[in-house]
Assembly symmetry: C2
Homo-oligomer: 374 residues x 2
């Protein structure tokens, strides 16, 4: 095998992009052999816009069993990510799933178990992990040079969506159709990057406001406070109604501070670790000296193309994935915990009580404005 034969499940917003990128040869080690979509209009689009050699299916199961493909790329609505991934793996395929990994962690735990036992490559489309500035933040923190994390803070409110966006699909922003709002649709990348760089919190107190700015049943405004195992604290704020929004990610460490904002990474490096300075300094109002530097993007953020290339390389040559599919549960656990905390009105712990969360989610699905498939 010198090219991965791939089948794409779902040719919606993201699926359309994926199909074009692969068909145009932007991922040299990947060949688009099949696509499927339950919507005849999208298949019609595929007939016109994709090469004739790409076989079109109206059913994912049939595509997985067609023997035309080695791997599946899942770009369907959120709820279908785990069952389709499980089905594809059981058909002997490697799988890359779009984000989020699923809607509730119980479903994703099952998916991860099947994937782990299969020996197949399982990846997730966390393309923001290729972002040079986030990689730099992770590299600095993982190196230990700045010591432990003391505080994290991400204000990520540049997700402006007006009512017209929410009105564009009956399943959008419903408990039954999407399983949530800004946390499940817009924020999976940020929640993943947050935990990828800073680690998983151990407790969460969140305030999710449902239908606050739009006529929707799910949350469009969230403030969450978290605590980490080492005692560090964090705040995550998101909304789809702030204009112009903010995207500012600050990490305070013993050895300085990192601030990623406006496409630049500001690095403030202390000359002495603050914990050490605190012990030895004798002057009441003196603070540790620091050096400020700025990292600007070098254009080396490969995004979706990079993630797809790494998926092919993992299948063909066993190279490391940019984002192992198993990792998808981490960011999802955080958003599940945020919902649960807000619904119960109290602090909740991680790992999450998966059954309790699912019970609460089901209550909301049962009265959802749409009764969608799951």
């Amino acid at each position: 095998m010198n090219k991965v034969k791939i089948g794409l499940a779902g040719i919606g917003n993201m699926g359309t992009n994926h199909s074009k990128w692969i068909a145009e040869g932007m991922i040299p080690e990947m060949e688009l052999c099949a696509v499927c979509d339950s919507d005849p209009n999208r298949l019609e689009w595929a007939k016109i816009n994709l090469p004739e050699s790409v076989v079109k299916f109206s059913d994912a199961s049939a595509m997985f069993r067609s023997r035309l493909i080695d791997a599946a790329l899942i770009a369907t609505p959120h709820y279908q990510h785990p069952p389709l991934t499980i089905d594809a793996i059981r058909c002997g395929l490697h799988v890359m799933s779009e984000k989020p990994a699923g809607v509730y962690t119980k479903q994703v735990s099952e998916m991860n178990e099947v994937a782990s036992k299969s020996g197949k490559v399982f990846a997730i489309m966390y393309n923001q992990r290729t972002d040079q500035l986030y990689r730099k933040m992770k590299e600095i923190i993982d190196s230990g040079e700045f010591g432990q994390i003391k505080r994290t803070n991400w204000i990520i409110t540049n997700w402006y969506r007006s009512q017209a966006y929410y009105d564009s699909g009956g399943w959008r922003a419903t408990w039954a159709g999407e399983g949530g709002g800004v946390l499940i649709n817009q924020c999976p990348h940020n929640l993943d990057i947050w935990q990828w760089i800073c680690g998983m919190p151990v407790s969460v107190r969140a305030f999710c406001h449902e239908g606050k700015w739009h006529d929707i049943e799910v949350e469009d405004d969230v403030t969450a406070y978290v605590e980490y195992k080492n005692g560090a604290t964090g705040v995550f704020i998101t909304s789809t109604a702030d204009a112009p929004g903010t995207n500012r990610f600050e990490v305070m460490l013993e050895g300085g501070k990192l601030v990623c904002e406006d496409g630049k990474l500001h690095i403030y490096k202390l000359e002495m670790n603050e914990r050490e300075f605190n012990r030895i300094n004798k002057e009441g109002f003196k603070a540790p000296a620091f050096i400020h530097s700025i990292v600007e993007p070098d254009g080396q953020s490969s995004q979706h193309i990079g993630v797809l290339k790494s998926f092919a390389a993992a299948i063909l040559r066993g190279e490391l994935l940019i984002a192992d599919g198993i990792e998808g549960i981490k960011g999802l656990s955080i958003s599940n915990a945020m919902y649960l905390s807000s619904w119960l009105g109290k602090m909740v712990s991680l790992p999450l009580e998966e059954d309790l969360f699912l019970d609460e989610l089901k209550k909301r699905i049962s009265t959802s404005r749409i009764k969608a498939q799951q």
Copy 2:
């Protein structure tokens, strides 16, 4: 009367500055006639450094009753602000108190009641209200041009203090001596400016970490979430261990965004109110257009001198105060609510349950490392 004859109670850190400014004639309508301090070393300093004409007292009560002064400036430890203010007003004096107004609102309510009935001028040293950038923020928001507030966020962690600072006085950072940590000592200005510009919250959920970064019994790290009457939310984060710290104050409004950081005010003004845009826009991913402008300081922030001048002008000519003393209770109510929320582990409402707060504070005072006067 063409000059206000003032007596200064307390010649510590701030009192020393006040005594010099007034003695040097920086407040032309004010004359320093007396000072008092219970510490003989500070009186010795006064003898050497202040004009001979300034009468020195070791007791505030005697100074208030000396008939040498028209007004008192209170710059003592926090707990003494209300009782000394009440005593001075009862002696027929006008009063300016340093911040905070007191340590618990019950005490400050009594002070405000006495002050309100007295007909005397009662002011508080909220010098940051003279800051040009904060005044500009308040002017924009009060004008209504940007519509209602949707979200407030203040990260104010540039209060670095090492252990040496806390070790410099036995009363420092104790429940009995100061009545709190970073909220009561460093943040009164910020809490006042926050409510002055954005209004009072109606509920507070705070996470105060006591002795987290220093060997102290009070809080040195706080994250608080608040909600306002109109449904807006807010976050306030402070610490004395972040290095280098952050001072970033963001207010999101229906008509745009204000961000005050690094000594500059960024104004993002939408061409159309977001609430209106949300209703009429038909394109899913479109956001309202905006204009970005920056206000830089013009050097017109008069700080302490300005507040003292306005106190004299209010006494002599009935001019408006920069900060009415009665207002001191507002910021204090917020910090009291933050403590109470954190101690009880739940959301608390404002106005505060003053007795409940005082009971909880007394528990902490009773086991405090120092048993100070109150």
